[in-house]
């Protein structure tokens, strides 16, 4: 036996109380982990945005098109480094429920702007040469088990081909891999030119214009210059940093972060009261035992440390199980949420925050009972019987 055994035995002496406390903490941390992962998935686009990357969209709404000619005009502006363009394809695989985020892009300029993902040199060359080629994000390739050389049908729920069909067949030319593991790669890239030539509406319009600046400090200046250039035109623009663009996109659904944190904090506050009260009650029931320990020679500080350790152990037990449960839940639902929340993972950040909250919970719920145990009057406690 050692001190830890004593702490553990004290914690497990009332199995029902331990189970109920653990369950309450488990639920709180399950919520914390799962909602934290969801919040991070929403924020991923914002956090991983490049500092020097801007996005120009139609001022009316980002679903409205822009003329392709804008791209070359933007290239002439001072402070602009690289410019590319993209179009929404609205893809799915076999059935509409299997969403496949597909962009029609310019193969020559796309990776100049998006340099935070990499494609094997040979695969990239093959893609550029094959008009029916498609690049698959690593996450999709892993999820669907697709590999280079496969031919896949991709349907659009917006566009149709001249033959009336809305399904395009593509050859997988390569895999898009992230430099940062959290970078979203749950998308596919097809040739803009091939797409525009084969869909019935044709034309030379585009969805949005991603561009990079020579220096992040020039972002504001370049944004203003771009929007000024197209002011009073039939398609006025709105240019913002990629982070702002992503944030605005997410906030269309409301302040996700605030909602999630409110739920988590409410759960934590409730758990704090329940567990704190339970710990206090548990120590109150043991006053004569604590007095005996002190009589045997356990110092007040040692008693304090043991009660606090018991509280930490309880929080750790329920909390780590809760975080583990959240990890399993997230892992289980990830395949179903690929198209909505591609970056849904219980990352290190959430896990470390969870551990910090476990420590806080252990401290806050244990400090008062530990203090009471430390200050317990041995004579009074022994004479209470």
């Amino acid at each position: 036996m050692n001190n830890f055994t004593l702490v553990r035995k004290n914690l497990t002496r009332n199995k029902l109380r331990l189970f109920l406390n653990c369950f309450a903490i488990f639920i709180a941390f399950l919520l914390f982990g799962a909602l934290g992962a969801i919040k991070n998935a929403f924020d991923a686009g914002v956090e991983l945005s490049a500092d020097d990357r801007l996005v120009t969209v139609n001022k009316i709404n980002f679903t409205q098109p822009l003329p392709l000619a804008y791209v070359n005009k933007i290239r002439t502006l001072e402070g602009v480094k690289d410019v590319t363009w993209a179009n929404w394809f609205g893809g799915y695989y076999q059935e509409p429920k299997n969403q496949l985020m597909t962009f029609a892009v310019d193969p020559e300029s796309y990776f100049e702007v998006y340099d935070d993902v990499v494609v094997d040199e040979q695969e990239l060359e093959n893609w550029k040469k094959d008009r029916q080629g498609i690049l698959i994000g690593e996450r999709i390739a892993n999820a669907r088990g697709w590999k280079v050389g496969d031919r896949i049908p991709v349907s659009s729920n917006i566009f149709s081909k001249h033959d009336g069909s809305s399904t395009w067949d593509f050859n997988i030319s390569g895999i898009v891999r992230p430099e940062n593991p959290q970078t979203d790669t749950s998308y596919t890239l097809i040739h803009y030119k091939y797409f525009m030539e084969t869909q019935i509406w044709g034309g030379d319009w585009i969805g949005w214009i991603p561009l990079t600046t020579q220096n992040p400090e020039l972002n504001e200046e370049v944004s203003r210059a771009v929007d000024k250039m197209f002011a009073n035109s039939p398609a006025e623009t709105e240019t913002s940093t990629e982070a702002q663009f992503s944030k605005a996109f997410v906030e269309q659904m409301g302040d996700i972060g605030f909602i999630i944190m409110s739920v988590v904090m409410a759960a934590f506050f409730t758990i704090l009261l329940i567990v704190g009260n339970s710990m206090w009650q548990s120590i109150k029931e043991r006053t004569s035992e604590i007095a005996v320990l002190k009589t045997l020679g356990f110092t007040a500080e040692k008693v304090f440390a043991m009660v606090l350790a018991e509280s930490f152990l309880l929080a750790a037990l329920g909390g780590i199980l809760g975080l583990g449960g959240a990890w399993l839940s997230i892992k289980a639902i990830t395949p179903m949420t690929q198209s909505i929340l591609p970056a849904l993972v219980l990352g290190h950040q959430v896990f470390i925050s969870g551990l910090m909250f476990i420590a806080i919970l252990g401290f806050v719920t244990g400090i008062v009972p530990a203090w009471q145990a430390m200050k317990l009057n041995t004579i009074e406690a022994l004479s209470r019987r």
């Binding site: 036996m1 497990t12 035992e289 009589t295 045997l296 020679g297």
Partner: protein, 234 residues
Amino acid sequence: MSNELLFDLKNIEKRFVRGRESISIFDGLNITIKKGTFVSIMGPSGSGKTTLLNMLGGVDRPTSGEILFEGQAIQNLGEGELAKWRARHVGFIFQFYNLMPMLNAEKNVELPLLLKNLSKAQRNKSVETALKLVGLSDRARHLPKELSGGQQQRVAIARAIVSDPDLLLCDEPTGDLDRTTATEILETLQLLNKEFGKTIVMVTHDPVAASFANVSLHLDKGQFIEQQSSEAVA
């Protein structure tokens, strides 16, 4: 019994304040206890028996006066130092055993050894010896609720002696036991006194229990009014 003094209490005063009233328990109490004595202290409720026992054990402090243990004044030691002193020198035996309900007999006995720097093997050996001495080797893995009152008190005795203290302080150790079991417990205490030289101070209401001691003191209103032996007490 040795002629060396274990305790020398000089001019002990102990007062409690209850509301606006100051209650005096001891007013100039003097007592010496020699090493290896088995002292019983009897007296009516409220006479100060347990208070005296607590002061001897370093759990309580006198309002004034001096408590010398082997010549060292202990009444002014800090809380932490007193706790360490108790762990090194004193074993407590209570009326209601006060065992930890979630620990089995051997783990209860092992408790005081957690305060010493001993290896697991050394601790196990000490626990085994202590349980053997009280005749409970075969109940080592039993929880307190699985033991009779007498067995629980024997576990408590094993816990008190496991760290080999000089002094055993017993507060009504047989108060909750039937006569036969009480006699067994008292015989065990007598054995510890005679064979192992432990100094024992026992508070009791029971004259039969007191007769097992080699010195019986009667405490009333904070003063010793009777003593049956002058060998141990001056």
